[in-house]
């Protein structure tokens, strides 16, 4: 263990990989000293584990109905969080539902920021009319309320998880484009960009190799902070019946179905609500922590 830490902390790394891992290690050390960020990271890791091991974690099948056991309160008959109107174990449904939530989060996280960053860096680096056109398109997307635009898209494409993801991704890229463009504008006139231009590098190489790495940290921070919003939008679409379709376990849809019993059987809607709350909080705390680690202004000190 000590030799590994020493290898990571070696001020003169002997390979590219060691240099990069050493930087990650330093970032981790800084991250570790922030208890709230660690709490966020723990929540997100638990979510990942829960989704990965759902069949083993969940005590019941999330879909099989058992009308004899319907609407049992929490902690009765072996149901940790009670059962819903079809007698399905709510805890099991939340565990399985974490897969759907993660699926949405991951798909949005790999599409929207990448697209937004591409638009933003190209606009910022090229300037002139390219910038004007790309940013006005971004503005048009920004001008719509997110949920309404997502609703319209799902209404056209038909309900379903894939379409919900598409709708969320299409509505959430503009802020990334804005962030990436702002970052690009501060970077494009710097000496290190001038130096690589002088070496004869073309715009594609400069944008991908030199501008994007500088935007990456701001975008990653934004993505983690936005994840809570994505989960809520997905849940909102589910709640409105436009996301995941029954009988699939999805947290937003579970809240929606629990709405009918909110006063008598509060747990049916509350438990998935708590799950959404905790996971959103986890992503937010993680994002705040990452800001401290990745912020270019604090890096290098």
């Amino acid at each position: 263990m000590t030799t590994l830490t020493e290898w990571l902390r070696d001020p003169s790394p002997s390979s590219r990989a060691q240099a990069r891992l050493g930087q990650l290690w330093l970032g981790w050390l800084r991250f570790r000293r922030n208890p709230m960020a660690m709490l966020g990271a723990t929540i997100v890791v638990l979510l990942l584990l829960m989704a990965a091991f759902a069949p083993w974690v969940a005590p019941y099948d999330p879909i099989t109905q058992n009308l004899a056991e319907r609407l049992k309160p929490p902690m009765t008959g072996g149901h940790l969080m009670g059962t819903d109107e079809f007698g399905r174990d709510i805890f099991s449904r939340i565990v399985w539902g974490s897969r759907v939530t993660l699926y949405i989060v991951v798909l949005v996280a790999v599409t929207a920021p990448v697209f937004g960053m591409l638009i933003g860096t190209v606009a910022g680096y090229a300037g002139g009319w390219v910038d004007q056109v790309l940013m006005r398109i971004t503005d048009i997307f920004l001008a719509f309320p997110k949920l309404i635009l997502a609703l319209a898209l799902v209404a056209v494409l038909g309900p379903g998880i894939e379409n919900a993801v598409l709708a969320i991704a299409l509505t959430s890229w503009p802020p990334y484009a804005r962030v990436a463009r702002a970052e690009t504008l501060t970077v494009r006139n710097s000496d290190y960009i001038a130096a690589v231009q002088l070496q004869g590098a073309g715009p594609v190489r400069i944008i991908l190799g030199h501008v994007m790495p500088m935007c990456l940290s701001s975008v990653i921070i934004r993505v983690t902070l936005d994840m809570a919003g994505v989960i809520l939008t997905a849940a909102g679409l589910g709640f409105l019946g436009l996301g995941a379709q029954p009988p699939m376990a999805e947290w937003g849809m579970m809240i929606s179905s629990g709405r009918k019993f909110l006063f008598e059987q509060w747990w049916v809607a509350t438990m998935p609500g708590l799950a959404i709350f905790i996971v959103s909080l986890g992503f937010n705390l993680l994002g705040d922590g990452l800001r401290d680690v990745l912020d270019p202004r604090s890096a290098g000190k």
Partner: protein, 253 residues
């Protein structure tokens, strides 16, 4: 024939409501293997001339020829292999997220030169940096070490001409001495041509054979090294600059 010929160069910037004339009708010639200095205070346009050569500032009038050929826009890879620049601030001229290794390997990759490993290690040795620095990030180096990396980067493509934009003004005096010595050694070894900008007359005098004094974007006076040392200047401004030069403070004290 001179290697660098600048004829009546003007550089104007459009600053919204008015036009800033950064350089006005400056002409100069630099021979191959010569070291030529541009000296002046802030706003004299000395750095702008270097930037105009590289295509980082617009040429509004006049012409620049390298080896007799007029410059193309954009400059192209042929130009990169001939002319390179070292920037003033080593803290901002190296990409903060690239290791020294990738910074030095980049020009080789752009120009499709192979044998990267050997060349990178050799480049570090040439600027007297320990190869153990190879995989460090810029923030793990001191200012002088960074400037050495910047010099190594400029030399990766084996250029003939090195444009030096105040290469030591951000460095401590002792580090400045080491960096100037390094530049002089490299020039002797590789037969480089220097076009160097500085606000410090003593540094220019130490490095250059001829000096052009500039003020407000115009050329004031060209001085050979011997004339500068003997204070044989014709214009008042060049004399003022000479008198105010920091290394003369001790003599007159």
């Amino acid at each position: 024939m001179a290697l660098i010929e600048i004829d009546n160069l003007s550089v104007h910037f459009d600053a919204g409501d008015r036009i800033v004339k950064a350089v006005q009708e400056v002409s100069l010639k630099v021979d191959a293997r010569e070291s030529y200095g541009l000296v002046g205070e802030s706003g004299s346009g000395k750095s702008t001339i270097l930037r105009a050569i590289c295509g980082l500032a617009p040429i509004s009038g006049g012409s620049i020829r390298i080896g007799g050929e007029p410059l193309k826009t954009p400059r192209g890879k042929g130009f990169s292999a001939r002319v390179q620049m070292v920037f003033q601030d080593p803290y901002s001229s190296l990409h903060p997220r690239h290791t020294i290794d990738s910074t030095l390997a980049e020009p080789l990759a752009i120009h499709g030169v192979g044998d990267t490993d050997r060349r990178v290690v050799q480049a570090l040795k040439d600027v007297a940096l320990d190869p153990k620095f190879r995989f460090r990030y810029p923030h793990q180096l001191s200012g002088g070490q960074r400037q050495r990396v910047a010099i190594a980067r400029a030399l990766m493509l084996q250029p003939e001409i090195l444009l030096l934009d105040e290469p030591t003004s951000a460095l401590d005096a002792s580090v400045q001495a080491e960096t100037l010595n390094l530049l002089n050694r490299l020039r002797a070894e590789r037969g480089l041509t220097f076009l160097m900008v500085s606000h410090d007359l003593a540094v220019i005098d130490h490095m250059c054979d001829r000096v052009l004094v500039m003020q407000h974007g115009r050329a004031v006076e060209e001085l050979a090294r011997a004339d500068l040392a003997a204070a044989r200047m014709q214009t008042d401004y060049a004399r003022t600059l000479f008198e105010a030069s920091a290394d003369r403070l001790l003599d007159t004290a």
